[in-house]
Symmetry: C2
Subunit: 321 residues, 2 copies
């Protein structure tokens, strides 16, 4: 079944707008297919066009609703949109849970929209390995915007979304507000803030606290400074979504003008190359030699640095392919 | 300042119960000190005695309160306890936030307790690299129990806690219950479940749902099967904590009898060796060669697999030390 289509054919069909070919390519990424080097080579010439927008926030701030509203806004101006929703999987459910993505079904029959929940936990290399490759598939397939949605708690999840061209961090009033976001370590990766559920009590206070935090901690980027805007949204009614799209556009234009966009894309490529290289090495290391070293370290006979040195020194005359 | 004490002296003092020496060693881990190989070698002969207990759950289930109650219970039977609280850091706060660890201060003046919030985000190798090394410090320093507390959302955080000798997963009624836990991908790593805030409405329903989920999805380990117990706790009043300690003891005894404890410790060592080796390789890779490859990948001139191959093939005659 997995070899029904040759790689060039799959890539051609994905580029021609065939959603099943796109889905198939992302499944091959999730399954760590041995055909991935060939796929990557076929995709590469067609990449670099999509605008990659990350969206993150603590559980319960309304990420799915906001993502869905953004999809609608980009569609309204004629752009094709791909969505990657990053969810830890569970063996109890057998994959990524789709429960809270019900609203996404507004777009289920629109051929200009492709939505995928990624189930990646436990895979070699994890999110850092699989997410950029899935983005690459959507980029090559001609989606104008790729939205990457992750939960804003967790080192891997935050690291992955931080590599987008523009990062939207969502907050909501009455959830511990600024402190809650600071705990998740996500304030510093925001290019645009959205205070969602803005019809609730406390929204203005959240906006005020956030602006104060920004004024204290703002980043300096390449000599010029991007002051992160704060947009109020009520995503389930569509309120504020046009402002949010405009703020993301403004950030995109600013980064393109200041060289930051190119720098981010190089940083994303750098992280992707590293993740691919590390996964290849890990696959090569797994086996008797590592097992024997681990037994010695667990017994206190050897320390992990000496063991790591032995592991990487061994086999230095071959390299992963 | 960082070289005030020679490594053997620091390790001797940590083993003699000097909390400042323990703190200094963990800081050297967090700072990725070049002295870590020497430290690891000095620690190794003294490791393998501590019982490592992981504790995780979604935000708001009462992890800190439960950890603090467990510390009290272990102290009551004369055991020394080390706690590692894994928190994403924020540059706004300049480090791990201690806000919700206030209750930990119950134990702040007890020399038999060492509590540390780890600020690890952005470090080379991240949690997978730093946490086991910090556990190793506490183990060598003679702590009988090392509690590792992480948020139960996020691939890295869940992976790290899954490597403990015993993993306690906390749930609370009225938080979306089973589904909430399944989303975090943490049901499958639980050895013991605690339904905290058991004085609240819905606690019995949560226990019932959980037992049902366990009956559907239970793991088979080495031919014998450990059926995860479900304990009700109200940690802020100390209720159920003795039952929780007893359940963790029972799991420990079971794993020791069935060979699973040794297997987990080997797996933990394996992950630690890999993390150390990968961090060394990443440090070696960062530089002009990777930058040049990343520019080509970002421009679509090269794919990440070809680039990764070029990266790892380059310099194959030297290895990280």
């Amino acid at each position: 079944m997995t070899r029904t289509h040759a790689v060039p054919d799959l890539v051609d069909r994905a580029r021609g707008g065939d959603a099943r070919a796109v889905a198939r390519l992302i499944t091959l990424v999730e399954d760590a297919s041995p055909r991935l080097p060939e796929i990557a080579a076929a995709l590469a010439p067609h990449t670099g066009r999509a605008r990659v927008v990350g969206l993150t926030g603590a559980p319960g701030v309304g990420k799915s609703t906001t993502t869905s509203a953004l999809v609608g806004a980009y569609r309204a101006r004629g752009q094709r949109v791909g969505v990657l929703a990053i969810d830890p999987s569970s063996p109890f459910s057998g994959g990524a849970l789709l429960g809270d993505r019900i609203r996404m079904q507004d777009h289920a029959t629109d051929p200009g929209v492709f939505i995928r929940s990624m189930a990646t936990r436990g895979h070699l290399g994890g999110l850092a390995w699989s997410t950029p490759q899935a983005v690459r598939v959507l980029d090559a397939a001609g989606f104008d915007v790729v939205l990457v949605e992750t939960v804003g708690v967790g080192q891997s999840e935050v690291d992955v979304v931080a590599l987008a061209d523009s990062v939207v961090v969502l907050l909501a009033p009455g959830m511990g507000d600024g402190i809650q976001a600071a705990k998740a370590g996500i304030l510093e990766i925001a290019d645009v803030f959205a205070v969602n559920k803005a019809d609730r009590d406390g929204a203005d206070a959240t906006v005020r606290d956030l602006k104060h935090a920004i004024s204290l901690g703002r980043r300096e980027i390449r000599g010029a400074s991007w002051r992160q805007p704060v947009v109020k949204t009520t995503a389930d009614r569509g309120a504020g979504i046009a402002d949010l799209v405009e703020a993301v556009d403004a950030h995109h234009d600013w980064t393109a003008a200041h060289g930051d966009l190119a720098a981010r894309r190089v940083e994303r490529a750098r992280a992707e190359i590293e993740a691919v290289a590390l996964a290849a090495l890990r696959a090569r290391w797994r086996g008797d030699r590592l097992d024997a070293l681990a037994v010695r370290v667990a017994a206190g006979e050897c320390d992990p640095y000496t063991a790591a040195h032995a592991l990487t020194a061994d086999g230095e005359n071959d390299h992963p392919g």
